[in-house]
């Protein structure tokens, strides 16, 4: 393999990784920080794509406005779902199990609602103006939109890390996840915090959906397709750890990129294999701090 091919694969792996990360970032937030397992995270990703499509189609706005609208819409819907439904099962014994079941039912409902509203035809979203071409660097061709995505991914991970670890609201959010009662006793409005965090997580999901839409087709059923991959990233990187998720996604992206080049027959099995191996040797995730091994 010549060096320019290696670099090309590295960059395409990075693109793939960033998209994986962006989609998984919301799940990392809600699962790792909020301690809520939102199985329907992929459905909010899908909603984001449809909302972005609808914004452009109804109001002919530019792409970035549509993306913002998608994130906002997904966030609001997420908060409604949390407030109306998810909240009722907090504090139950076996809460984890019920969370999984309830959010699984969200997937079913959202899938059909999307079909009702938008039908089954494939919708399409164009790349934003100015980003439809590519740059040529030393014999390599890199689409400019891909570069934009990589940049956005880095911005998200840095912002998330800063907010969660350096700001007061971030620390409160993390603490609330660990011990709701204690935070309540300390005067924090726990229900409001939970709803807000959930909303931000779903907004991130919707944002990722809108960003990814120009590269993929906007179809029903997209929710179920991405949830497993997002889960793999979150688990490999460690729950609640944004840098972990980004690095986990990077590992997956690059492993995939080189598997495709070297052993194309088996590339599809690789991401599951990485997940399984990580979980066997370091179940709390490659970059997590707290251990989860039990008695």
């Amino acid at each position: 393999m010549d060096p320019s091919f290696i670099i090309a694969q590295l960059i395409s792996g990075l693109t793939m990784a960033t998209l994986l990360f962006l989609v998984a970032s919301g799940l990392t937030l809600i699962f790792g920080v909020g301690n809520v397992f939102n199985f329907a995270h992929g459905s909010f990703y899908m909603l984001g794509a449809y909302l972005a499509y609808q914004t452009v189609s109804s109001w002919h706005t530019n792409f970035w406005v549509a993306t913002f609208a998608a994130a906002l819409g997904a966030g609001i819907l997420g908060m409604m779902a949390e407030f109306l439904f998810l909240r009722r099962i907090y504090g139950r014994s076996e809460e984890g199990g019920f969370q999984i079941l309830l959010t699984y039912s969200f997937i079913l409902v959202i899938d059909d609602l999307v079909k009702l509203v938008w039908g089954t035809e494939y919708k399409s979203l164009l790349r934003p103006a100015g980003f439809s071409g590519s740059v040529h660097v030393g014999g390599l061709t890199i689409p400019t939109y891909n570069l934009a995505i990589i940049a956005i991914g880095l911005i998200v991970v840095v912002l998330a890390w800063l907010i969660l670890s350096r700001t007061r609201p971030g620390r409160i959010a993390r603490a609330t996840a660990i011990d709701r009662e204690m935070m309540n006793a300390m005067g924090v409005n726990v229900p409001f915090t939970m709803t807000l965090v959930f909303g931000i997580a779903t907004a991130l999901g919707g944002f990722a959906g809108a960003l990814a839409a120009p590269l993929r087709s906007v179809t029903p059923g997209a929710g179920i397709e991405v949830i497993i991959d997002s889960l793999i990233v979150v688990v490999i990187g460690g729950m609640g750890n944004f840098w972990g998720a980004w690095l986990g996604a990077l590992i997956l992206g690059e492993v995939n990129a080189f598997a495709v080049a070297l052993v194309p027959e088996w590339a599809s099995v690789f991401s599951y294999l990485v997940m399984v191996l990580t979980l066997i040797f370091k179940p709390e995730g490659l970059f997590a701090a707290r251990g989860v091994r039990k008695v």
């Binding site: 699962f31 397992f37 439904f85 009722r88 099962i89 139950r92 076996e94 984890g96 199990g97 019920f98 999984i100 079941l101 309830l102 699984y104 039912s105 969200f106 997937i107 079913l108 409902v109 899938d111 059909d112 609602l113 079909k115 009702l116 179920i224 497993i228 889960l231 793999i232 688990v235 599809s268 099995v269 599951y272 294999l273 997940m275 399984v276 979980l279 066997i280 179940p283 709390e284 989860v292 091994r293 039990k294 008695v295």
Partner: protein, 320 residues
């Protein structure tokens, strides 16, 4: 309390034996036979899952792995070696499930809670992906057809009674297990693992044991199913199949002796009724699930029992 428990058990047993035992004689079409057969098998699968989740609190989103393993053991034996290898195929499925569940169990029972769940999902999907893409060997997305049970079992009614017998025996075994010392230990582990550990019992070993048993029975369910439909498909290994069995358990009532079986019956019947009339079955099942989780977490059976004791205590109050 123990008395009423056994009393309720008896009711269920009688109903089960009567309804499913006599069905072939009163049915009006062979579709009803297939439906009942499906209910028996899914019911057993759901009860096997319930042993893990309901009794021990371990939420596995990967039981489809064993279900599919059982189905494919039978399917592949028949495909490559012939019809007479159907029953040995079932045996092979049980053996492989035992081996695999020990290996996987040792790896994943080290963690608890959502991590455990995610790991089971990972293993399940890995198995699905391998089976799906290794289609030269397994048939992949085409599945395997023409799996007809040998000898007298090729008659649908005879096979139905065969399934019925196997399922009844398995359920009896599971009930005994739930009341055995192992079952008691597992319920204690669910409430307070540390205490059990301090009492000198190995938490992990017990959990591994129940994981094995649950998985072996799931494989048995899968094997039986192959002989009902005469075909199998990689779909049986997909995570949504694991999701279905979880849904059935929740609907019926987790941890409520026969709840999951009833949940399976209700889901299968609803699927057929609703699926026939509307294309929005996803929405309906989703709403039902939401209602169950939020308002009726004890499931149909659990809520029914709670309602009954509430009514009873009301009448007692009135009298007194």
């Amino acid at each position: 309390m123990a008395d009423t428990g056994r009393y309720k058990d008896l009711t269920f047993w009688v109903l089960l034996l009567l309804i499913f035992g006599l069905l072939p004689l009163v049915k009006t079409s062979s579709y009803q036979l297939m439906l009942a057969n499906h209910i028996l098998i899914w019911g057993m699968f759901a009860l096997a899952f319930n042993m893990l989740f309901g009794v021990t609190g371990m939420l596995s989103f990967g039981q489809a792995l064993y279900y599919g393993l059982g189905a494919y053991s039978v399917g592949m034996m028949v495909k490559y070696l012939g019809q007479s290898w159907f029953l040995p195929g079932i045996g092979l499925g049980l053996l492989l499930a035992a081996l695999l569940s020990v290996l996987v169990g040792l790896l994943i029972i080290r963690v608890s809670g959502v991590f455990f769940t995610v790991l089971t999902l990972a293993f399940g999907q890995l198995a699905w992906q391998i089976t799906f893409r290794w289609y030269h060997f397994t048939g992949g997305d085409d599945g395997i057809q023409g799996i007809i049970p040998p000898g007298i079992l090729s008659d649908r009614t005879v096979y139905y009674y065969f399934t019925f017998a196997v399922v009844v025996m398995s359920i009896w075994f599971m009930r005994r297990l739930a009341r055995s010392p192992l079952g008691l230990t597992l319920r204690c582990i669910r409430q307070n693992p540390e205490r059990v550990h301090f009492l000198g019992r190995s938490v992990r070993l017990n959990q591994l044991g129940i994981y094995m048993i649950s998985s072996i029975l799931s494989a048995l369910a899968g094997s039986l199913m192959a002989g009902v439909d005469y075909s199998i498909h990689t779909n049986m290994l997909y995570w949504t199949t694991s999701g279905e069995v979880i849904l059935m358990s929740v609907l019926g009532g987790i941890g409520q002796s026969f709840g999951p079986f009833i949940g399976a019956a209700v889901i299968i019947i609803i699927e057929d009724v609703v699926g026939a009339r509307t294309e929005y079955w996803s929405l309906i099942i989703g709403i039902i699930m939401m209602v169950m989780v939020i308002l009726f977490p004890r499931g149909l059976v659990g809520e029914f029992r709670a309602l009954r004791s509430r009514l009873r205590s009301l009448t007692v109050q009135k009298r007194g």
